[in-house]
């Protein structure tokens, strides 16, 4: 079996397509963020169903969330996972169904990731601090 360095050189010599390594890491990131989101979504679903069932008002919700450091940390991880997961998924959709394969798609995905991260954190700040 080839050692790490030899393996890499052999792979490049074998003519691996330029984006292959990046695509591999995107795939890894998508699955990892999916696993994180599976947990986060379950927690989120449970809390929302609880809130709706108990007919919580704005004040009641904010009373429980404001100043809750642990919740802020949890939702920050949630937002980060979303900012990774959604743009990668949308990117694939654009490539396959819109035939959009140029470099501009990658910039779009990156912009989307940053926007989701920023707005998500802002929302978290609004609800969990103060």
């Amino acid at each position: 079996m080839n050692g790490a360095g030899q393996g890499g050189a052999a792979a490049r010599a074998a003519g691996m397509s330029p984006g292959a390594k990046a695509e591999t890491w995107l795939w890894i990131a998508q699955r990892a963020s999916a696993a994180v989101l599976a947990l986060c979504v379950l927690v989120h679903l449970v809390t929302i169903i609880y809130a709706v069932r108990h007919g919580l008002t704005g004040a009641a919700i904010l009373g429980r969330t404001r100043g809750n450091g642990a919740a802020l940390a949890f939702y920050s991880v949630y937002v980060l996972a979303i900012a990774v997961h959604a743009p990668i998924g949308l990117r694939t959709l654009c490539q396959e169904w819109l035939g959009w394969r140029s470099a501009s798609l990658n910039w779009f995905a990156l912009a989307l990731a940053l926007a989701l991260f920023a707005f998500g954190l802002r929302a978290g700040w609004a609800v969990f601090t103060g």
């Binding site: 929302i48 704005g58 004040a59 609800v127």
Partner: protein, 115 residues
């Protein structure tokens, strides 16, 4: 020559379509969600105003749809993780059935909570 729906008419393909469309729909919804929550920055009264909007029947229905979308995407995603990481067995089709069932159960639970 290209394929049409006849080639695609099997459960795993519908599962793929549901997963992709639910992901797209959730991506469209998310910015609104973040915006609405960000309104809490302006205090609880603002959040209350928004929550009052959600009392409208149309929005209640939209919430059920959202929960269903989330459940579909989550359980479909778990199915995909199983297909890609667990040893291949013949239970893949029943896995799809479990995923669909779990999605429906979550949706119903939410709907019941609303009623």
């Amino acid at each position: 020559m290209k394929n049409d729906f006849r080639a695609r008419n099997h459960p795993a393909w519908w599962a793929f379509l549901a997963h992709r469309l639910s992901g797209l729909a959730l991506s469209v919804f998310l910015p609104f969600h973040f915006w609405a929550l960000g309104q809490a920055l302006q205090g609880e009264a603002r959040l209350d105003t928004l929550l009052r909007w959600t009392e409208l029947p149309l929005l209640k229905f939209a919430e059920v749809v959202l929960i269903l979308l989330l459940a579909v995407h989550l359980t479909g995603g778990l199915r995909l993780l199983a297909l890609e990481f667990l040893p291949w067995r013949g239970w893949q089709k029943s896995l799809l059935a479990w995923a669909a069932g779990a999605a429906l159960a979550a949706g119903l639970a939410f709907a019941l909570a609303l009623v």
